[in-house]
């Protein structure tokens, strides 16, 4: 094990710690995950292609990715505003709000699902006011959007907030002393600094939303071709013992997740590389 050490160290426990880490991680995560790809190889390419381009599957992609993207963008806007307000302004209850932002992360998704459903149902707290306006949220694609916006909220706030906190106040002052008004200062100085973190946050919210299951299935209504998300379609196929179909869709989802994780990693690297300068 010591051959892979770049630098010898006097600290003990490297072999044990890394050995256990790799053993555990391979056993729990890597081997089962790779099983998914091996299983797909049991399908011919045509079969695989037919499963993943089935109209019902395509409709589910459209809903999953579409709603995730819109939800992530909504979070991009409101998450930035929340982060800004939390860092820059003082108001009573600020620390409570700060803590509450993580609720969607800590709350079990099933709980979020039934709660949002009951609120947005036609007799719910919010739903009853939307119904007369002709807006149906629960059991429609709009409900999917609500759930995906809810679970993505912490990501944007928590990536933008620290950058905003570290933002050098002097840079904004410098812009002001050079004659820029607040709006010019914001666009010329603040936004370029926040941009990488904001993109990272949006990408993370999007990635989380794409795979989301628990909070969506209650509110979605789950009508095939209309309000059925891809993870639910996988679940349905599993319940019908269509393992091959479930696996094929699972691979599509997994590849998308990996690509998104790669993009997020690159964004984070970009963001921290900029942070290193100066």
């Amino acid at each position: 094990m010591n051959i892979i050490l770049k630098q010898p160290s006097v600290l003990p426990g490297f072999s044990l710690a890394l050995g256990f880490t790799l053993f555990y991680f391979c056993l729990i995560v890597l081997i089962p995950l790779s099983g998914l790809f091996v299983k797909t190889s049991g399908l011919s390419w045509d079969q695989f292609w037919n499963v993943i381009t089935d109209p019902r599957a395509v409709a589910s992609y459209k809903l999953t990715f579409g709603a995730s993207l819109v939800g992530a963008l909504i979070n991009g806007v409101f998450g930035s505003i929340i982060a800004w307000v939390l860092v820059r302004y003082h108001f009573p209850g600020r620390s409570v709000v700060d803590a509450l932002v993580d609720l969607p992360f800590a709350l079990p998704t099933a709980v979020a699902g039934i709660t949002l459903t009951s609120i947005y149902a036609s007799n719910g707290w919010i739903g009853r006011y939307l119904e007369p306006l002709g807006i149906q949220v629960a059991f429609t694609p709009l409900g999917v959007l609500v759930a995906l916006t809810f679970i993505g909220l912490p990501f944007v706030v928590r990536t933008v907030q620290p950058v905003l906190q570290d933002l050098d106040r002097e840079v904004e002052e410098a812009a002001t002393t050079l004659g820029a008004n607040r709006w010019q200062t914001f666009w010329a100085v603040v936004v370029p600094e926040l941009w990488p973190a904001l993109l990272t946050g949006i990408a993370m919210a999007f990635a989380r939303a794409v795979g989301e299951y628990g909070s969506v299935i209650f509110i979605a209504g789950n009508m095939p071709m209309k309000s059925e998300i891809t993870p639910l379609l996988i679940m349905t196929k599993l319940e019908q013992y269509d393992y091959a179909g479930a696996t094929a869709l699972g691979v599509v989802m997994l590849v998308v997740s990996f690509v998104l994780a790669l993009i997020i990693n690159l964004l984070q690297w970009w963001s921290s590389a900029r942070h290193m300068n100066q």
């Binding site: 002097e170 002393t177 050079l178 004659g179 820029a180 008004n181 010329a188 370029p192």
Partner: protein, 355 residues
């Protein structure tokens, strides 16, 4: 542009940062605000820039009151300690920033801005760096970019907040001479905040020494160094020996340090503190007058242009610092353990309110 600071007070919470400060700066002067951390110098500078607002008092620039004027209307250039460069912009874009954010009617043409940037970069000797990013520059270069950026908007007043504070000693020395030359060329009114007395004395026309929100003394570098107005100024501007205690019958100190001086003799029995600079102490090997202070040589540091000695006073066992020329040191042939007698060539006595 002349500056008038009129009874300015500023508090942060219960802490008074500036306490009824008055200051007049003439057009074209380069002033140093000198003092330790927390003395209020930076706050005063920020109030002049319009970055902070005074709680009480008024600010006049060129005779016109600007206390409530917005920062963008004051036409001041501000240089920050940590440069505050826009790191996502090139050097040229940084310098051009102040011109590009002007309202369309007042904004120079793109070609004019480019030309102006080139002029300024030439002035700060960074022509070759126009397309680099701040992260690719050294600290000294960054500070010069910051200065060029501040000068681009043709300010009537240049404010510098510890501009060389983050640089290493050698670059700092170079840059402050360069700043002095630049000021002589441009004749722009300048205020420099620093905690480095050497920097203040070398660069400024006049030095304003501040302490705990008050101005202790205003004067030319010579004046403040030679005739410090307060004990604080004395101590802040160079090494000093402090003799505490009452002065009675011409003798200083609780242990009756026999330092004789006409100045001391003229004072009555009061709580006094006596200040003597190390280079103002004369040593002799024999007692020439009875009033001399007897001390033992403890430590000799002979590295440098002058020799630094640490002596222990015989009466009070206090340490006394003495600075000699090399010639005098060779004449005396001092060794650790030698007994010497001290005589101050110059000293200053301050009354301290008895506590």
């Amino acid at each position: 542009m002349s500056i008038q600071v009129d009874h300015v007070t500023k508090r942060f919470g219960t802490f008074t940062v500036l306490n009824d400060v008055n200051l007049h700066v003439q057009s074209g002067e380069l002033i140093a605000l000198l003092g330790p951390s927390g003395c209020g110098k930076t706050t005063l500078l920020r109030i002049l820039a319009g970055l902070e607002r005074p709680d009480q008092g008024r600010i006049f620039l060129q005779g016109a009151e600007v206390t409530n004027q917005r920062i963008t209307e004051r036409q001041v250039g501000f240089v920050f300690q940590h440069y505050a460069l826009f790191r996502h912009m090139t050097v040229a874009d940084n310098v051009a920033f102040g011109l590009t954010v002007k309202p369309r009617a007042q904004r120079p043409s793109a070609a004019r801005i480019q030309e102006k940037v080139r002029e300024l970069l030439t002035l700060v000797q960074l022509q070759a760096m126009a397309d680099r990013y701040p992260s690719q520059l050294s600290g000294g270069q960054r500070q010069r970019v910051a200065l060029a950026r501040a000068l681009a908007v043709e300010p009537k007043l240049l404010l510098l907040d510890e501009p060389f504070g983050a640089l290493d000693a050698k670059v700092r020395k170079e840059l402050r001479r360069w700043l002095r030359r630049l000021h002589d060329e441009l004749h722009i009114t300048g205020i420099l905040v620093t905690h480095d007395q050497e920097e203040a004395l070398e660069v400024a026309d006049r030095v304003v020494v501040m302490h705990q929100g008050n101005i202790e003394q205003i004067g030319t570098p010579d004046e403040v160094y030679e005739n410090p107005a307060t004990p604080f100024v004395y101590q802040f501007l160079g090494d000093v020996n402090v003799f505490h205690g009452r002065v009675s019958h011409g003798h200083v100190g609780k242990a009756e340090h026999h330092i004789a001086s006409s100045e001391v003799e003229s004072l009555s029995d009061e709580h006094e503190v006596t200040f003597v600079r190390p280079h103002d102490l004369e040593l002799s090997l024999d007692r020439t007058t009875p009033a001399q202070l007897e001390a033992t040589v403890q430590f000799i540091n002979g590295a440098g242009a002058r020799v630094h000695l640490e002596l222990e006073s015989k009466d009070s066992a206090e340490m006394i610092a003495v600075e000699l020329t090399r010639e005098r040191y060779r004449e005396l042939k001092l060794q650790p353990g030698d007994v010497v007698f001290l005589y101050p060539k110059q000293l200053q006595v301050f009354r301290v309110p008895t506590t």
